[in-house]
Amino acid sequence: MKKNVLLLCAVWLMLSLVFAIGCAPKSVNTVKVTGTITIDGKPLEQGGIKFSSVNNDTTASGGTITNGTYAAEVPPGKKKVLIIGVKVVGREKLYDTPDSPTREKLETVTPTAYNKKELTPLEADITGETKDLNFELSSKFKHK
């Protein structure tokens, strides 16, 4: 009986081994980039950040900005950095009707040039995992 139990265990272990064997898929070649975003010295409430390849040779990446911090998985290379920041200023109607439901009203707080690839002054050269890749924006920034 003891032998049988042992055999049983062996068979089930074998089964679980079949499930366990397998090569992990090759992950896409990206590195982790984190940092903070400030505007006029204060953390950017919410928004988005994009890392766009200067020559468009690798796919772009990006992330969401929350309370001035962001994290993104970026393929290495020379990047233009695009940032948009917003803040909540109330609520607004969805349709032009009296009984319309509402949604959060957001206002853009960053100059539009920061969110246009041909105008943004922000650049980064990503070579490996980067912490504290910080960007300081100015609400008075004007592109040339």
Partner: protein, 360 residues
């Protein structure tokens, strides 16, 4: 011992995948030996059962039965992924078929309307390039007659906005061609809103522009077959219909509600189109979609909230493996990989960009 050597050989190739220690080799050897012995015993017991000379009824032992079940289990474990892959391939095929129907509908529309395509969407009352006046509307309306939905088309009043009484009922009809079977088929906004409507996976190509165009965006726009508040035609597709995208698919991020605009394709402020202002939003992009209203942490559909329709940008997304279906203006449907180069992507989105690149 000779047998053991053979097993070692097999295991050596396994080792490239996973470092099997000597103990694991020993263990597997013994397990396999036990299984082969048991097999012999089962065969023997079967022959004893059906043999004429036997007078003793001999049953299977528990272990023998368990071994058989275990082997069946292993076979199922090996087959299941293949079956799942085949099912997803079938869904993908149905999805690309839907895209083809929409692309062909656009052509039939163009044939009937002096070469003009249907409008992508309209966000206010205005008269557009083809001389027609539109109010708030989205792209499927004008294509209904060409996808066997003539009765909906006759019911729709172009003098009213889509959310006005009468029109909104037509936006509540579920049409099979709205949905990709790989993602939330048959979803709608679930009566959460007075103006709820059905959702859908298919979106028009709006080129290198945000959802709504400002005047300065219009100046750098390199053309697209569809736009919000603009109508284009075959003559605008200077890059060639085989090199210009017409439709693609998106993920319905939050079915059953109005908390995410992605999938609300019957609304000019929802997701009537996909776009990529700077070629950044390639298929299943890691760049978040910029939405007026959205929920975060949806698998494969990251997003960020923005304050204006002129900042909204939405990438094509799907739950197919490794890419999205893209319907071209010539009616062809291609599966475009997530790793497509941004330059090729920009080229296929623009209708009048003059790029030399095309899809690989």
């Amino acid at each position: 011992m000779k047998k053991m050597k053979n097993w070692n050989k097999t295991l050596d190739s396994l080792e490239q995948c996973q470092n099997a220690s000597g103990y694991v080799k020993w263990f597997i050897y013994h397990v396999l030996r036990a299984i082969s012995l048991l097999f012999a015993r089962i065969v023997a017991s079967i022959s004893v059962r059906f043999g004429k000379q036997s007078s003793v009824r001999r049953a299977f032992t528990l272990v023998e039965l368990l071994v058989v079940i275990a082997i069946i289990g292993i076979l199922i474990a090996l087959l299941l992924p293949a079956v799942q892959a085949a099912r997803e391939a079938a869904r993908r095929m149905q999805c690309s078929n839907n895209l083809k129907q929409w692309s062909l509908a656009v052509h039939t529309h163009a044939d009937a309307k002096q070469g003009w395509f249907n409008i992508g969407a309209c966000n206010n009352d205005r008269t557009v390039e083809n001389g027609r006046a539109y109010r708030r509307i989205s792209w499927p309306t004008e294509l209904w007659p060409y996808v066997e939905q003539q009765q909906l088309f006759s019911q729709y009043d172009f003098g009213k906005r889509f959310h006005d009484a009468g029109n909104i009922d037509t936006y509540r009809q579920k049409i099979a061609g709205y949905y990709c079977p790989s993602n939330n088929p048959n979803s709608d906004q679930g009566n959460t809103d007075t103006y709820w409507r059905v959702m859908g996976n298919y979106v028009t190509n709006m080129g290198n522009s945000p959802l709504h165009q400002s005047t300065e965006e219009q100046a750098r726009f390199t053309g697209a077959p569809f736009g919000v508040g603009h109508v284009y035609g075959l003559e605008n597709i200077a890059d060639g219909t085989s090199n210009t995208a017409a439709f693609s698919e998106i993920i319905i991020a939050a079915p059953g509600g109005t908390t995410d605009q992605r999938g609300d394709f019957l609304n000019d402020e929802g997701s009537p189109g996909f776009m990529a202002r700077d070629a950044d939003l390639t298929p299943n992009s890691k760049v978040p979609d910029y939405c007026r209203i959205c929920v975060e942490n949806v698998s494969k559909a990251p997003c960020t909230k923005v304050g204006a329709n002129t900042d909204v940008e939405i990438a094509p997304r799907s739950y197919h493996t490794g890419g999205v279906n893209l319907g071209l203006c010539d009616g062809a449907v291609r599966f475009v990989s997530d790793t497509v180069s941004p330059n090729s992507w920009q080229a296929v989105l623009s209708a009048d960009g003059g790029e030399s690149e095309s899809l690989p």
